[in-house]
């Protein structure tokens, strides 16, 4: 479990990093951020980049900023830096809860949010958050910047819309208005393991009815995604236990799990139902 030989680059500016990436991308040059997925994959010789461009020394990439109704997460923001105070209101509480489900403290201290997004593991919690909340990814290269919406960004199992010469320069998440209700639930074999099913539900309430619903599912299909049929079912209805059950069952029927475990849809239904129940403040087993 020693990686094969590779060249290591430690650029001092973002421009230098982008230039190196443009030059080395054809030779399988890769960005090294937190390294919590890439480095073990290299040790297992599953990933064999010939060049690593280490951005950890670059100044200013670890910013978490709120403005214009958005939370902007820089490429060196570590999982552990995401806290309730990072962003006011329901989004801060939501991200705080999700962070606690990511691996273990040493990994959270080193691994980055953008690294998880670029890695695009179907079970990644941040990918589920980006997909459910309608996040956007800032892709940056020598050719310029572009924003990629989450539904376009995640393209399949550990596959994204990033071009080889592009650095994932940030995640933008819409700040949730006060009063937004949310629930997150996942099931994993052990604390900190990748989820076998994870769901995030976000409800905008108006006068006792659900004005808008976002429901996401992760770790079941080849990428995280929203569940439009269930969302439609909830919209403009008052949340009741029966309605939430019905929505979770509806969602289950639309799933195409990637593994052959016949009980996976039932597990997905459970986490969706529980995420919805938490969001609605209703007790449901």
């Amino acid at each position: 479990m020693k990686p094969p030989p590779f060249h290591y680059h430690a650029p001092r500016t973002e421009a230098e990093a982008l230039a190196l990436l443009a030059e080395l991308a054809p030779e399988e040059g890769r960005i090294l951020a937190g390294g919590q997925s890439l480095v073990p994959a290299m040790a297992l010789r599953v990933a064999r980049p010939s060049h690593l461009i280490d951005i950890n020394g670059l100044p200013g990439l670890d910013r978490l900023e709120v403005g214009d109704g958005q939370l902007r997460v820089g490429p060196l923001v570590r999982h552990a830096m995401i806290r309730r105070e990072s962003v006011p209101g329901p989004l801060g509480a939501l991200l705080d809860k999700v962070r606690g489900h990511i691996a273990h403290l040493p990994i959270r201290t080193r691994g980055t949010v953008c690294g998880s997004l670029a890695n695009a593991d179907p079970a990644s919690e941040w990918c589920l958050v980006a997909a459910t909340l309608g996040g956007a990814m800032l892709a940056r290269s020598m050719r310029g910047d572009r924003m990629i919406a989450a539904e376009d960004f995640f393209q399949g199992f550990m596959t994204t819309a990033l071009e080889p010469d592009e650095l994932l320069a940030g995640l933008h998440l819409p700040v949730l208005p006060e009063g937004t209700r949310w629930g997150f639930h996942e099931f994993s074999r052990r604390a900190g393991d990748y989820a076998q099913a994870a769901s995030l539900a976000v409800l905008e309430m108006r006068a006792g009815t659900i004005a808008a619903a976002r429901i996401g599912i992760g770790a079941v299909e080849d990428r995280p995604r929203r569940l439009p049929e269930a969302e439609a079912l909830l919209t403009n209805r008052a949340p009741t236990a029966d309605l939430l059950r019905q929505a979770a069952a509806e969602a289950r029927a639309t799933l195409l799990p990637t593994d052959d475990d016949p009980t996976r849809p039932a597990l997905a239904e459970t986490v969706i139902r529980r995420a919805l129940a938490d969001a609605a403040g209703i007790e449901l087993p």
């Binding site: 094969p4 010789r45 052990r190 996976r264 597990l267 529980r274 087993p285």
Partner: protein, 783 residues
């Protein structure tokens, strides 16, 4: 020296019930200082100048004929010193196994490098030696192994296949029988029959294996470092296989980051580094990586049983008839058929069983070879036997606790001889009050009150349950172990043992025993273990034997030194030895009256080789004693669990757990509790998490710790440990029984019982591990 027998005087220490001055007390460990200071010496910490690094090229398919191995490219890589294939080590014989009564296994032993076939993914095919571990791994990647695929055998219960021409994959069937089994079934009120299986899992120590060999040409000694568990046997075999006298080979043990049965056996890599150090005349270091560990180090446990019991109308056992298939993996390793033999010999456990018949089919498959893992053969058969007891209870409508009560061997029946053998010794349950411990455990757990609480929670919709499992362990495997206790001229005490330490606290336990007998401070005693250059023989650390065997030898040797010191002092002080005692290393009057005294240092100096008084005698304040044992000591206990199943996810939460374990006498209750809780973690791993899985072609699917799930602190329940000392062993002077395996033994059985109870479906669980997907499926089926 020779005239001194361990005959305690009236003031000499005798181990009555209850704690002594040091023995029986939870004193802190003497081995911890270097560990907490980061000064430990694990295998990877061992380095020698000019050392080479070995990398193993391993088979990538499960069964194939070797067409060719092309290492030319690897030999040309930078830093590479040598690459060996089977032809280069053709003179090294197959790796042997320790003798048992089972015959016919020799052709199934493993060569150090695969010869004409590979038989499991991970089998060593070639080795690269380079000046750097990275370069060695780079070069190993370029070794081209051409294989012609052969059919794989992955199910030990399927019809045998071919191991090699003329040898099928069933080398032997372990058979044991007593009583009139056919009559038992003819006269039965009911016959209960089950098919049960235990998954493939094993000890996965945090420290992987490692081996560092060095040839010291100046002294003509081959040294092997990073060893564990069984140094003397390994020394003798390495010497034999490499054609050297045993005196010219020495093994050294540093710290060991977990043994659990799998570390310290003689593996191909151990012999390869030794052979390379001799031939290449440079030290050779090999450190196993985690992916290698999960395919190369011994697996364990995998068995399937077809068992039936004949019972009378009250649920009393009349006979048990079991046929099981033991999945040995690709080769016979150093344990031979030991696990299958132990399974067959230990299956009856704590119950009165008039007739018994077992046939253990010892089968080879195209998977990693298997051997012992903490509670070998007992974890499996406790699961099988206790499932059977639960099934009998369900069939006859008898409470699961009551069915066990009716069948437990009674205290009055001890010692209880069974016409059976295990590990080559007759099974004689040496002592025990099984029902007494069951009562204590139920009371401590609050079993009856808990049942009401669980009923209320079930009524509120929760899926909760409780289970129990009774187990009998075995410990203190003989035949012998020797210990030399010496007081030097400064008064320092050294205990030289043939035991080994896999981290369990051997030094502390032996120091406590020595201190108790000799009257010195335990924390200043030096305990030597795990090295062949300080003591000629030793049987190592396995089978929960150290405290029983080396502990008893330590007790006897320390008493002999005590007697020697008192005799010397008595002459000098003109008192009788009976009037003297030793306190804090000083010989004084036993009655506490003032008077002259002598330190052990003064006595040791008086017995020095230059002392005129020693003329004609063997000098030194020292004694060596050997403890012999023909029979094992049998600890026993009960596991009790309360669990909750999340009906939506199939996840199991163990809410509360009790292990009650009678080990005769606890030398250090803190160490015993640590053994039990740590052992339980591994038992729960096998019950709920851990499984080596393979795809249909024999590719291993559990090759990282993200796929092979060991329990972490977050998965561990609140554990209560009840250490009982009701039944000291009559077989040794300390009354001790081993404490290393009871925490593991009953865990699979207990969890299965509790899950059944939570599901309200007796007999639902027929295999381990109990996985969430399986529970989800059970929960969605109509009951």
């Amino acid at each position: 020296m020779d005239g001194l027998s361990p005959r305690p005087g009236e003031d000499a220490p005798a181990l009555a019930a209850g704690p002594g001055r040091v023995v029986g007390r939870p004193v802190t460990r003497i081995e911890d200082l270097p560990l907490v200071r980061g000064e430990g010496l694990f295998a990877a910490d061992v380095n020698f100048p000019r050392q080479l690094h070995m990398r193993v090229v391993r088979a990538e398919i499960a069964h194939g004929r070797i067409v060719s191995v092309d290492a030319e490219a690897a030999r040309a890589m930078p830093g590479v010193v040598a690459v060996w294939t089977a032809a280069d080590v053709a003179d090294i014989p197959l790796i042997p196994f320790r003798a048992t009564k089972v015959r016919g296994l020799e052709p199934y032993c493993q060569p150090v490098l695969a010869r004409d076939r590979v038989r499991y993914v991970g089998e060593p095919v070639a080795v690269v030696f380079a000046d750097d571990a990275y370069r060695a791994e780079d070069a190993a990647e370029t070794v081209m192994v051409e294989l012609e695929e052969l059919p794989v055998v992955l199910d030990a219960a399927a019809p045998p296949g071919e191991f090699a021409p003329g040898h099928d994959t069933e080398p032997t069937v372990v058979r044991k029988e007593y009583g009139d089994i056919d009559a038992a079934f003819r006269s039965a009120h009911a016959v209960v029959e089950l098919e049960l299986s235990v998954g493939r899992h094993s000890g996965v120590p945090l420290e992987t294996r490692g081996a560092i060999a060095r040839y010291d040409a100046a002294h003509d000694v081959l040294e092997l470092h990073g060893t564990a568990k069984k140094q003397h046997w390994n020394r003798d075999e390495i010497a034999r296989l490499l054609g050297r006298p045993p005196q010219g080979v020495h093994l050294f043990e540093g710290h060991v980051g977990g043994g659990f049965g799998v570390r310290g056996e003689l593996y191909p890599e151990d012999l390869l580094v030794c052979a390379a150090a001799l031939r290449l005349r440079r030290p050779v270091k090999w450190i196993e990586d985690r992916r290698e560990h999960l395919v190369a180090t011994n697996h364990s446990r995998q068995q399937s049983h077809r068992i039936r019991a004949a019972v009378d109308a009250e649920g009393r056992l009349l006979g048990i008839d079991d046929a099981f298939f033991h999945d040995q993996g690709a080769y016979v390793r150093t344990h031979g058929a030991r696990v299958a033999d132990l399974a067959a010999g230990m299956l009856p456990g704590p119950y009165r069983l008039p007739a018994y018949r077992v046939a253990g089919h010892f089968r080879l498959t195209n998977k990693t070879p298997a051997a012992t893992y903490r509670a070998p053969g007992r974890y499996e058969t406790t699961f099988v036997r206790e499932r059977l007891m639960d099934a009998i209870a369900a069939r006859l409508g008898i409470d699961p606790v009551e069915i066990r009560r009716r069948n437990l061997v009674a205290a009055a029946e001890m010692p209880h001889a069974r016409p059976l053998d295990a590990l080559g010794t007759d099974v004689v349950l040496d002592s025990g009050d099984y029902e007494g411990l069951l009562d204590k455990a139920l009371a401590r757990f609050g079993w009856d009150a808990m049942q009401q609480e669980l009923a209320a929670r079930r009524a509120a919709g929760e899926c909760v349950g409780a289970g129990l499992a009774f187990f009998v362990e075995k410990s203190g495997l003989g035949p012998s172990d020797g210990v030399r206790v010496t007081v030097d001229a400064t008064g320092a005490v050294e205990v030289v043992s043939g035991a080994a330490s896999v981290g369990q606290g051997v030094e502390t336990a032996l120091a406590q025993i020595c201190a108790e007998a000799l009257g010195v401070d335990y924390s200043r005693i030096r305990v030597v273990r795990g090295r062949t250059d300080r003591i000629e023989f030793g049987n190592g650390a396995h089978a929960s034997r150290v405290t029983v065997m080396s502990g008893s030898a330590t007790w006897q040797a320390a008493l002999a030194v005590r007697e020697m010191a008192l005799e010397c002092a008595a002459q000098l002080l003109q008192l009788s030895p009976a009037e003297l005692t030793i306190r804090e290393g000083v010989v004084t009057r036993a009655d506490g009256l003032a008077g002259p005294s002598l330190t052990l240092a003064e006595i040791a100096r008086g017995r020095g080789p230059n002392s005129p008084a020693m003329r004609g005698q063997t000098p030194g304040l020292t004694a060596e004693r050997w403890f012999w044992s023909d029979h094992m000591a049998y600890p026993y206990g009960v596991h009790l669990a309360q669990i909750r199943i999340d009906a939506g996810t199939g996840g199991v939460t163990v809410e509360r757990y009790l292990v009650a374990n009678d080990i005769g006498r606890a030398i250090n209750p803190m160490l015993v509790e640590g053994q039990i809780v740590g052992g339980l973690a591994q038992g729960l791993g096998g019950a709920l998490l851990e499984e080596f899985r393979y795809d249909p072609s024999g590719q291993p699917l559990s090759t990282t710790l993200a796929d092979y799930l060991i329990p972490t602190i977050a998965e561990m329940p609140e554990v209560d440990v009840l250490i009982a000392e009701d039944a000291p062993s009559p077989l040794n002077p300390l009354g001790v029984k081993g404490a290393g395996e009871g925490g593991t033994n009953g865990a699979g059985a207990c969890i299965a019982s509790a899950v059944d109870d939570a599901l309200r479906r007796p007999g639902a669980i027929t295999s381990l591990p109990v996985l969430p997907a399986h529970l989800r499926a059970l929960l969605t089926e109509a009951p």
